[in-house]
């Protein structure tokens, strides 16, 4: 794991185009929304709701890409495209991995907000 949690070039470009102040607000929004989305992903998995599972993974991927959270976005993309079967085969571990990566993303983004 040599690649950074947040790709600085992507994040800086976001700040440049949307404005630094707005970027801070956008990070706040993501940090406020993401836990509920991760919970929804688990709910959909538990309920066998494939549509909601795909849609939520897609949404998390999209937000990950916006902030330059490449590893997080890649994991979400695998869930979006792979569906629930591989997750079941791995006893739900990919969901735990995504949650751990989110924790890293959240702290990195909070750090960037201050800087």
């Amino acid at each position: 794991m040599t690649s950074p949690t947040i790709d600085r070039a992507t994040f800086d470009e976001l700040k440049d185009t949307a404005g630094a102040e707005f970027a801070v607000e956008l990070v706040d929004t993501f940090l406020a929304e993401a836990p509920a989305m991760l919970a929804e992903l688990r709910r959909a998995y538990g309920a066998g709701d494939a549509d909601a599972f795909r849609r939520t993974a897609h949404s998390l991927k999209s937000n990950g890409n916006t902030f330059g959270a490449r590893a997080f976005a890649a994991m979400a993309k695998d869930l979006e495209l792979g569906g629930m079967t591989p997750v079941q085969a791995a006893s739900g571990k990919p969901l735990d991995a995504l949650a751990s990566e989110y924790a890293r993303v959240a702290s990195a983004l909070t750090e960037l907000q201050r800087g």
């Binding site: 949307a18 707005f22 956008l26 795909r54 849609r55 916006t66 495209l81």
Partner: protein
């Protein structure tokens, strides 16, 4: 709506994800647009039916109603189908892009959306929308509903094609002294009345007014939509114009205002018809010898002291029930060869 293409337009952002919605809204507002948002497809359609938008930016993966369903609904709705839609999505797979385009999306942008691309695509879509709106307005003002429908079906392109049609020129006789004898406000009112009456007579016989200038106009019968009996339609319209002017003159007389007299010239045959101008401003018109002949006949009404003059081709196509006086071979101003002229 899009008064200035590319800026100050009214846009609708449709996305179920709050971060995406905020970011896209922000980017569009920085480009100078006014933005409304909807959280899913159903809310988007409701918003579109409530107020007009110049452009919609549509996500695909959404709960309740996804973007594909929204595109289908928009395409099936006459009131909404002309609103351009740019799909903004992070959907995987080229087949999804193709599906959006097939369903009528104007363009497809991958999220996260690149600012430069966004600006360019929005500018292009709004410009296309503006041209379509302008074209519809042009058609509404200058064409009958049949012509308008034909244009909606066949589209709009500059350039001409050979057609057979009748061209009609009409103007007010002795307009300049009339205009000088009354206040300008009354002259404008008179002109507006005259145009209203003439448009009505022309439109009711299947013609379109292609040009208006001062106190004169040019109308075409048989294009852009073919008419079986364009000669007869043109002459019938001319006669209706004369009847309407007589009615108008009776009103003028009772208001102690001056009467107006008109002159009409009609010629028929092959000509080049099409849209001329630029893509910004164009008019449907015809050019060719037949058009010049119709204009000369209209001018000749003064010397001939007849209200409606037609050429031999028009006369030849009229049914026997139409009476017309043969005035003999006449050399019209600007022409070297004499032509047979008839008063209808």
């Amino acid at each position: 709506m899009a008064e200035v293409a590319g800026r100050g337009a009214r846009l609708l952002v449709v996305d179920d994800n709050k971060v995406n919605r905020l970011l896209l809204t922000r980017s569009l507002e920085l480009l100078g647009h006014r933005v409304a948002v909807a959280e899913n497809g159903r809310a988007a359609l409701e918003a579109m039916r409530r107020e007009p938008f110049d452009l919609v930016l549509l996500d695909i993966e959404m709960p309740e109603m996804d973007g594909f369903q929204v595109l289908e609904q928009i395409r099936g709705d006459l009131a909404l189908r002309d609103v351009p839609v740019i799909v903004t999505s992070s959907l995987e797979g080229l087949e999804n892009v193709v599906r959006c385009i097939e369903l009528g999306a104007e363009d497809y942008l991958t999220k996260p959306v690149n600012g430069v691309l966004l600006k360019a695509r929005i500018g292009a879509s709004l410009e296309k929308k503006r041209l379509r709106d302008q074209q519809k307005e042009l058609v509404r003002r200058f064409a009958t509903p049949e012509v308008a429908q034909d244009l909606q079906r066949s589209g709009f392109a500059l350039g001409g094609k050979r057609i057979h049609a009748s061209v009609l020129f009409a103007d007010i006789r002795g307009f300049t002294p009339l205009a000088e004898a009354q206040p300008p406000e009354e002259t404008i009112e008179l002109l507006n009345t005259w145009y209203t009456l003439m448009f009505d007579a022309i439109g009711s016989h299947g013609g379109i007014v292609s040009q208006i200038a001062g106190d004169g106009l040019m109308a075409i019968f048989g294009a852009p939509v073919a008419l079986d009996n364009h000669c007869e339609s043109a002459v019938a319209a001319a006669r209706e114009m004369v009847d309407l002017i007589e009615l108008f003159n009776a009103e003028q007389a009772s208001a102690r205002k001056p009467a107006i007299r008109i002159g009409v010239g009609i010629a028929s045959g092959e000509m080049i018809a099409g849209y001329t101008g630029t893509s910004e401003r164009a008019t449907y018109t015809c050019i060719g010898d037949v058009v010049n002949l119709a204009a000369r006949l209209e001018q000749h009404t003064k010397e001939a002291k007849r209200t409606i003059l037609i050429d031999a081709a028009t006369r030849g196509a009229l049914p026997a029930t139409f009476s017309a006086d043969a005035l003999g071979a006449t050399t019209l101003r600007g022409k070297t060869q004499a032509v047979d002229v008839f008063a209808a």
